[in-house]
Symmetry: C2
Subunit: 453 residues, 2 copies
């Protein structure tokens, strides 16, 4: 076969796949942070437009993609699927490695798959403005671009340490017309309280979420937008796995293992959920689905499955998920998009039922694999995506050791052009491995909210 | 039509188009800088492998692309052609605007089209190492990546001011295994001489070329490589225009105007030369071919057509070209790739014969057009490519003013992810327009070499 499989525009999926429809048990209720009772759709209206709330709770297996969204997807979708012939040769494996590449758009990652429908439904609902947070900047960039497409004003609360470390990301968002402030900021009560206590706070994703939620809740013209974790976000990302299935079929192959890196769950869900559908259908297609996370923030491999807040400020609804505790602050690794204390409730439920697996990797080996991949394949992975690259190489090597050949598919969720300083630090020997602190996790877990369902 | 036209791998051209074969007059001879006599192929062997020297002087219309090169092209080629529906709407034009996008590879620009065959022929010829220069970094990145593909060591002399301004470019080259030094460097006699005179020299492309040529000439295992200007480089870039012709035909359209930004000529030649072939064939296809250059370095619009050195150190062969003088130093605009005093001899000859046109634009309007394009089309142009974006918008507006509809095609040669500080400066109002200094040009032109042919 050729080294890449390109699909025509007609292969852009016409519907998103809703994995909730195939779950045997219903998801745990979402709890209102104020009342301690399950939230209803009305409780979410200050934050989200009705179109997204409906998707959040939908049990319909197939959710049609609006024409306006599909046309925007056609700017860069379908994305290519590559066979990593040269990587296979470089590592000397007998296994076949495929990867789907989601970095070929202006946001540089898969995040545009969901920011576009989110902007669309907000525009349709009459909202004029979006408040959101960003860590490493992939999500903020995607929201800024989608906002510019649909005429929405976008305000991004960017974790202060990233704001300083990744100025190019801030500039990209501004070039697309978004306003960006370092978080904690003086623009919200939550930000001001944190600054009063610690003017030098480096910020965290949990704090930035609190600020964006406060902003959106306080203005009728404004919605909040989240780039991962929620059902509707994972739903939108299923275009990745759907296309990949068609491309694998054209390649005449089917994956034994499907791998995605895991932060909040949207990238992993995007590639894995359509394959979960095959798994749930029974039959002989039963791929392993592997979430690759950083050892310094091992939500799925070392967290607990419990009710917790999505943010540090305790403003978000409480959801049942794998969590390290809402005030756990992971080490400052370069894969900023994977530094989240929680996980998607949907992915968490799948993990708790043994339908997916999770693996944690320390960053030195991850960067080493990423550079081997780049030199062989001519593509530079984002540090987040590099976790999937490393997991795929590890799978291939394990298969070789067992004397078997496997078909391995992973999602290369974004490029690393905005993360060059991470590679620079690695090449200069300045990076270290950070295991998570068991004590910090133990302490954070003591502060989980008490929820009685 | 759909907003993009994607071709299958089978549409990757099987041969490069050599426009020299269609020139009515032979090109002027290339002069040896030492002897003042025309150079023969043997004179070039210390710098280039025989495969490239043959291409440099070939008069064969169609030069077959080796399989190994075509396979590497297939990593990202054929590149997409887009119809800029949303840009047309945003500027309210009745004209149709199309663009070919060459930024979708790890080097981020069209430069990989030539660095791959250059690395291939060097590898085939037994050379182990490449010395080259880079200004803004697009070429150095492309050479670093191609070197990693074919197992060649790559040493890049990077103009010092860019080395400091664009650290991410330096890091990208190092990630692909290249060695990068700021130029002027202490690694060459030429660099040491300049440093002795001015330790704070910011460097220039002319100086960096001198260093790379000295390096390559002094080591048998090493070739020099150039990312533009020369015939073989333009030859390799003709894959762009060849694909674009097929895509325009699928769109059922044909350009009235073909536009490329112009620094040394390889990007402009890449998109324009295959359309020149139509023009030379007579018949009704007679597109205007427009080179867009910066007003601060107006080689084609304000230079003279004369014999000159390609570098400041007078180490390169002397060629007949449009030039502002080999020691003219343009203002430090952000489109670093367009800051070259000379131009490709081939493009220069076409301009002197009235077969192509040139237009110069100041940078503020260029950045303004680029941002309008980005917000409409969701792609961020490199500052160099932004000159073509602006020229295309100007063509459309002129056509509207004349009450006609035109078909406009331009090449979007690269993305601007490594140039965010340029956009940041523009948005912050920190950029100014720089006209070239007529006095500086007059002085530089007084120092042209005396050549008698």
């Amino acid at each position: 076969m050729q080294n890449k499989i390109i699909l025509p525009d007609s292969s852009i999926p016409s519907a998103w796949y809703n994995a909730l429809a195939d779950l045997k048990n219903p998801p745990a209720p979402v709890i209102h942070p104020g009342t301690g009772k399950p939230v209803g759709p009305g409780d979410l209206l200050p934050l989200f437009p009705m179109g997204l709330i409906e998707q959040e709770v939908s049990s319909q297996r197939s959710v049609p993609i609006p024409d306006e969204v599909r046309k925007r997807y056609a700017m860069w979708r379908p994305t290519p699927l590559y066979r990593a012939f040269r990587l296979e040769e470089a590592i000397g494996t007998r296994s076949r490695i495929y990867y789907k590449y989601e970095g070929g758009n202006a946001s540089g990652s898969h995040k545009l798959n969901t920011s576009i429908p989110q902007a669309f439904y907000n525009m349709q609902f009459g909202r004029k403005r979006i408040a959101t947070e960003t860590g490493a900047g992939q999500w903020g960039s995607a929201m800024a671009i989608a906002g510019s497409f649909f005429g929405l004003e976008v305000k991004v609360y960017m974790v202060k340490v990233s704001y300083k470390q990744k100025p190019y990301r801030r500039m990209l968002m501004e070039t697309f017309g978004a306003g960006v402030v370092p978080s904690p900021s003086a623009d919200t009560a939550c930000g001001r309280a944190i600054l009063a206590e610690n003017p030098d706070s480096p910020g965290s994703l949990g704090i930035a979420i609190s600020e964006a939620v406060e902003d959106a809740a306080g203005r009728e013209d404004t919605s909040y937008a989240l780039g991962s974790v929620l059902n509707h976000v994972l739903l939108h990302q299923t275009v990745i796995g759907q296309e990949a299935k068609e491309q694998m079929s054209i390649a005449g192959d089917y994956p034994d293992v499907v791998i995605g890196c895991h932060g909040g769950g949207s990238n992993f869900g995007g590639i894995a959920l359509p394959f979960l559908q095959d798994k749930m259908a029974g039959g002989k297609r039963n791929p392993r689905l592997v979430a690759a996370e950083p050892a310094s923030c091992p939500t799925l491999t070392k967290g607990v499955y419990a009710f917790d807040f999505g943010d540090t400020g305790k403003l978000t609804p409480i959801v049942k998920m794998f969590t390290l505790g809402h005030d756990f602050v992971p080490e400052g690794i370069h894969a900023g998009g994977l530094r989240y204390h929680g996980a998607s409730p949907l992915i968490s439920q799948l993990l708790s039922q043994g339908l997916i697996e999770a693996q944690a990797f320390a960053q030195l080996k991850v960067f080493s694999s990423s550079i081997a991949f780049a030199r062989a394949e001519g593509m530079l992975p984002a540090p987040e995506s590099a976790h999937a690259v490393h997991a795929a190489i590890a799978e291939a090597k394990n298969a070789d050791a067992e004397g078997v050949e496997k078909t391995i598919l992973f999602n290369l969720s974004g490029h690393g052009f905005f993360d060059m300083s991470a590679y620079d630090d690695f090449l200069a020997g300045k990076l270290a491995d950070h295991e998570h602190s068991e004590e910090k996790v133990r302490e954070a877990l003591e502060r989980l909210p008490k929820v009685v369902v």
